[in-house]
Structures are given as structure tokens and as C-alpha cells.
Amino acid sequence: MEASPKARKLDIGPPDYRQFLHPVVKENYGQWKYHENLRPGVLVHVSETGAEIYTVRAGSPRLVNIDFVRRICDLADRYADGFLRFTSRNNIEFMLPNKENIDPLIAELEGMGIPVGGTGKIIHNMLHSQGWIHCHTPASADASGITKSVMDELYEYFTAKELPHRVKIAFACCTACCGGIFWSDIAILALHRRPPRVNHDYVWRVCEIPTTLASCPVTAIKPTYVDGKTSVTIDEDKCVYCGNCYSICSACEIIDPVNDVLSIWAGGKLANARSEPMLAKLVVPSLPSNPPRWPEVVSAVKNIVEVYAQNARKYERLGEWINRIGWPRFFELTGFEFTKYHIDDFKHAGQTYKKSVQLKF
């Protein structure tokens, strides 16, 4: 970091996107008229000018290597004039001006083990956070591994099998929810189940006490002195194991493979279509974390997808379907157990109780 400033230009910003637009895209920019979903993974967009562009969407594991990127660049060079893009769910999109290129491109992708799909009323690519690949705070579960296990199981729903509507699945490895839990149709969230153990030898060295206190959603942390040094104590009766204190102050050790669990959530959505955006709700509070393929988690997710597939109406998102049938029916149909843990007890808990006698028996 001591190098001379002269050589460097700061703040150049990302590359200008305009240079990355295919000429057909550029010419028809803002003039698209309509689109069609030709098959899972293939869209056509038609412009006011009559121009057409064919999009082939390919699934990606997100964690890729440079050779993978180079290989898809090869494909883009050959079929899409050297342009490509990625979607907000980490898929790869090739935009082809030439319809004839669709099939050969798909054949090549499939030959490389890259699935084509993920458009329309199917299961889209999963979103996930870092897991054991990089982060310091995950509860005991790996993001990439769970994602792979779930997508393997639901593969045909990505490439072919139509559902009532789009289903978006996500995984997050701690309550920071980088991977997106509350906005997903189905989500998996790794949770701690035990209060942090405070290492009093470290607190005074590594932690800013006020920030640590403020990090707790339930004010379970109080300042204290241990052996004449500032530290904190945690009220175990209050702590809800969110791990936020740990991410602020590493002396609040929370990593604990023995107790950590995986929870399942359902019914979130982001789009404003039909219903307003909704947060996902707790469906299964705790499943064991069993690497490498987390069978309990995978089967819980699949259960939800299948019950939804059988029962929902066309164009009805998972959460909209549950709202229509009601949560009692959802638990009945999926067979998940309803427990005390499903009943909210955080800030606005009272708002979540059933405040009417409109009940479906």
C-alpha cells in the first residue's frame, strides 16, 4: 500500500455498460415490444422495429473458475458475437440475433454439463451466501453444498417441469441473511442454538463494548468487569443466538457444530405482481445439518415444492397460495409440525396472532 500515488487513477468506476451491449440490443434499446418464453431457458424479445433477440439462459453454480468463464466466453464468441450477460440470480445469458444458433448453443452447453432453463414458471437458480467458502460467521452449514444438493434434486424443475408460478429458493448461513431468506418463496437458513461463550481474555483487546452491546436485538448483553478488565456478559435467558455480537466482537464465540441447525422458511416474494411483497415465514424450525448432501433439508424443500405443485393455481406464487388456503391447511398438507417456535415472539409478535374467527376447519 506504500506505492506512489502517481501511477494510479482512483475511482474510475466500473466499465461503461454501453460498450457491452450487442449491436441489436443497442439499436433496439428501449424499443422492445414484447417477449415470449419459447421453452424453459429460451426467450425471444421482439422490438418495435421488428428486430428479434433470442436469449438462452444457462444455469451456473455461481462459484466458478476462470477456465469456466473462458469456456462460456468461447461460446459467446461463437454464437453471440462476443457478448454475454449474467442475471440477478447468477445465470448466464447469451443473446442471439440469430435463431438458428439456439439449438447448437444449447447442445454445446448441455455437453458441458451446463443446464439450460430457469425462465418462466419453474424453479429459478438458487441464491446463496458464502458459507464455508469465505465468511467468518456461518452457522454449521455450507452454502454452495446445500445449493448444489437442492438444485440436483429439483433439477427437472429448472430445465423442464412447469409449476404454478416461479419459485425462488435461497440459502443463508447466518441471520445476516446475505443469501436472501425473507424475500424467497422457499429458504433455508442456518441457525445457532446456543448463546455465545464470552472469552473474557479477549473482549477488552478486540471489542468495542458499546457497539457490542448495541449489536444485540434483544439487549441480552451487559457490560461487566472480569479480572479488572472490561468485558461483557450475556443473559442466556434472553439470547436468541443470532450471532450478531460475534460478528462485531469475535470474543463472543458462537461457532458450534454440535448445536447448530437448519431452518426452513416459505412464502416470501419481492414482485409487486398481484399481491404486495411478502416476507417468508418459518416452516421448520430445526433440521440437522448433515453434510455433504443434507438429505433432511433437501427433502423438506422438495416436499414444499411438490405440495405447492399439486395444490396451487396457475399464476399463484407459493405465498399467495398459502394465504389462500391458510397456514393450518399448509401444515396439514406438508405434514410439518406446528410448534411453539413458530409463534413469533420478537418485536411485533402481537401483530402476527390470528385476530378473527375466520377459520377454515
Binding site: 501511477a7 457491452f20 445476516a176 457444530p257 447448530d260 405482481a273
Partner: protein, 394 residues
């Protein structure tokens, strides 16, 4: 060459492309990837991560864009003793050409693990894993040769992301790509030398479908909408009907405001009642389109769970037209930063700040007039904090 990876090998099975295969491919030639693979196998065995907590790293002139990471067992996994990530700000809409991507790959091959996320959850290209020593030269080359710059981290504005928008979507109500690029360039300094109370995210979606999830994933979502009437192509409507599509069941009955009617094959929309939910347009893309008077709704406060709970953004400006240089947005962002910057607690997202002080006081602080569009409904309790009263002798 690498140790046995019995657990991870299981994750090479199955039809979905395997991240393990991606790592293995690099592990053949790259020592960082090799030890990542080994350490990861260990994690899978012990159900536990092997990273140490925290660590600040960076490059000259920047206070963000890189996340430091150190192995908890450098003795066993020396290749990942240092395993920092580099966040590269993605171009608007995640558009690339192959030349640019190849340049980036070549540089990352030279300086890093050869592994990357396309993309990180905020939208950056995430270059996964390199040493402290390599950070500066790696960045220098990325910047000077490949024209990439760092994305955000820490308490500043983060990498802005946007949907494909007018580049390929017929529903884009404003130029999401341009707004994203323009704001990104404008706020470079605050992105790279963060000094806000906490992170601040902007996401741009071209219409209420919100394909980047702006409403929940960003502090300041900009979501396209229109103010006039939905454009109807009655001929195309007839084609759908003649094609056997059940417009009544799938469109009219699902309209949340029940403002559509089908009369003798003419589709009518009472646009005054329409809430711009997009459903009918989504289902009948050939027949319906957003209106012509287009712009965006600006919302505020979205975020996930910590500390105060997940917050879905709420309406701040019901409708605004967006034309370059987008000065109103820039002024708004600066005003938010000033007010939130001055009165927020440490590590308090703007949504949490508003919940604490109240939307009313926030608006007052910002000089924005209250508007019934901002609330789902007015208050349900009588605890009105009237601000004035007469004292004896007034």
C-alpha cells in the same frame, strides 16, 4: 495431487453443475485453490468453518472493496493462510463482452485463486481468495488493463445493481442501466472511502416486477412505474382469446384491484383503480404494456434481519420522472446521507433509523411533505405528538 476429498466428491454427483468441480479444476494448478479444497473438505468433515474472524485489508487510496480472510489453520492449509476477496463493481445489468471478461480472468489467474463468484449477492464480481501481497498489483492491473474498479464494502454506498431494463425488457419504465452507471460514477468517492453510519444500497428495477429485488434488498430502491393508462392492443387481446387463453380466470379475476372488464372481446381497464401491479401485463405481454408517462417510485429503508428485523422498503416519493443527469435523485441521496449521517446511531441502517425516529420526523428532517401514498394506512392509536400548545398567558 490433492488429498482425498470423500465428502466433497459427493457434491460432484448429480446433474447440477458442481462448484466442487470448479474448485478441483483450479486445484490442479493453483495452490490457493488446492488448499481451499482441502480446508473445505475438513469443514465438511467437522461441520465447522476454518476461517478466522475478520481482518482489514485494502489497496492504496481505497477504504473498501476487499474483505480480508485468514485461515484458522494456516499450518494445515498454508495456501489459504490469506484468502482475501476482491469485489469488482459489475457493469450495469451484468453485461460484458468476452474481451473484458478474458482480461479479468487472465489477471486473476496471475494473482489469485482462479476462483470467483459471478456474482456476489450485492452484484459485484467476487474474486475469491488471494494474499495480502497480491492485492495491490492485482487491483492495479484490473484497473489499468481491464478497466475494472472496486465495488463497495463497509459503511458506505455499495455497488448499485439494476435489472436488464431497456436493454432487453419491454417493460422498463426508465433507463435502469444508465441511472445505475450515472449514480455509481457520481458516488465513487463515498463508495470507496466509506463514511456513513452503515452500508447504503441502491437498486434499480425497471418496473414493479422488481427483478433485482430492490424493495427488500436495498436502502433506496428505485422502481419503475407509470402514471397514465396501460396501453392495450385490442387485436392482440382477441388473439389471446381466440388462441383459447382464459383471460377471465387468469387475468381479470386475478387483478388485485378488480378493475378490469371484458366486454364483447374488448378489454377495459379502469386505470384510476389500477394499482400498477403488472400482473395483467405479465400474463398478456403481447397485448398490454405500461403507460407512456413513465418514471419511478422511490422507496426507502429496505434491509434484512440485523438488528431491528427485516424491513421492506416503503414509499418515499410516489412518482418521479427520471431524466439525466438525475439531479433530484442525487440531491435526495445527499440529503439522506446528511440527515441520517448526523442523527443515526452507529451501525444503524437508514430503515432502522426511520423506524426509531418515525417516518414523520424523518420527512420533516428531509423537508419532504407527508403524503398518504407513504402509508398503508394512517395511525391506529391516539398517541399523536402534537407539537404545539398554548401556555397560560399566550
Amino acid at each position: 495431487m490433492v488429498d482425498k476429498t470423500e465428502m466433497l466428491d459427493e457434491l460432484e454427483k448429480g446433474p447440477w453443475p458442481s462448484f466442487v468441480s470448479q474448485i478441483k479444476e483450479q486445484a490442479e494448478k493453483n495452490p490457493i485453490s488446492r488448499d481451499l479444497l482441502r480446508q473445505l473438505e475438513q469443514s465438511y468433515k467437522d461441520k465447522k468453518l476454518y476461517w478466522r474472524h475478520g481482518g482489514v485489508v485494502g489497496v492504496w487510496g481505497y477504504g473498501s472493496g476487499m474483505i480480508g480472510r485468514y485461515s484458522a489453520r494456516p499450518d494445515l492449509f498454508p495456501g489459504v493462510a490469506e484468502f482475501h476477496t476482491v469485489r469488482l463493481n459489475n457493469p450495469s445489468g451484468w453485461f460484458y463482452n468476452t474481451k473484458s471478461l478474458r482480461q479479468m480472468c487472465d489477471i486473476w489467474e496471475k494473482y489469485g485463486s482462479g476462483l470467483l463468484y459471478m456474482h456476489g449477492m450485492t452484484g459485484d464480481i467476487l474474486l475469491l481468495g488471494t494474499t495480502t501481497e497480491n492485492l495491490q498489483p492485482c487491483f492495479d492491473e484490473l484497473s489499468s488493463e481491464a478497466s475494472f474498479d472496486l465495488g463497495g464494502s463497509g459503511p458506505g454506498i455499495r455497488t448499485i445493481s439494476c435489472c436488464v431494463g431497456p436493454a432487453r425488457c419491454e417493460w422498463a419504465c426508465y433507463d435502469t442501466l444508465d441511472v445505475t452507471y450515472d449514480l455509481t460514477m457520481t458516488f465513487q468517492s463515498e463508495m470507496h472511502r466509506p463514511s456513513l453510519p452503515h452500508k447504503f444500497k441502491i437498486k434499480c428495477s425497471g418496473c414493479p416486477n422488481d427483478c433485482v429485488g430492490a424493495i427488500l434488498r436495498s436502502d433506496l430502491p428505485i422502481i419503475g412505474t407509470w402514471r397514465d393508462t396501460i396501453q392495450i392492443d385490442q387485436e392482440a387481446v382477441s388473439e389471446y382469446i381466440n388462441g383459447g387463453f382464459d383471460i377471465v380466470s387468469y387475468v381479470i379475476n386475478r387483478c388485485p384491484t378488480q378493475c378490469m372488464r371484458l366486454t364483447e372481446k374488448e378489454l377495459g381497464i379502469n386505470d384510476r383503480e389500477c394499482s400498477r401491479c403488472m400482473h395483467c401485463i405479465n400474463v398478456l405481454p403481447k397485448a398490454l404494456r405500461p403507460g407512456k408517462e413513465r418514471g419511478a417510485t422511490i422507496l426507502i429503508g429496505g434491509k434484512t434481519q440485523l438488528v431491528e428485523g427485516t424491513i421492506i422498503s416503503s414509499v418515499l416519493i410516489p412518482f418521479i420522472k427520471l431524466t439525466p443527469p438525475y439531479q433530484e435523485i442525487k440531491d435526495l441521496v445527499n440529503k439522506i446521507w446528511d440527515f441520517w449521517g448526523e442523527y443515526a446511531r452507529g451501525r444503524e441502517r437508514v430503515g432502522e433509523f426511520i423506524q426509531r425516529i418515525g417516518l414523520g420526523d424523518f420527512l420533516e428532517g428531509m423537508g419532504i411533505e407527508p403524503n398518504p401514498y407513504m402509508v398503508a394506512h394512517p395511525r391506529e392509536n391516539p398517541h399523536i405528538k402534537f407539537e404545539e400548545y398554548y401556555r397560560e398567558g399566550d
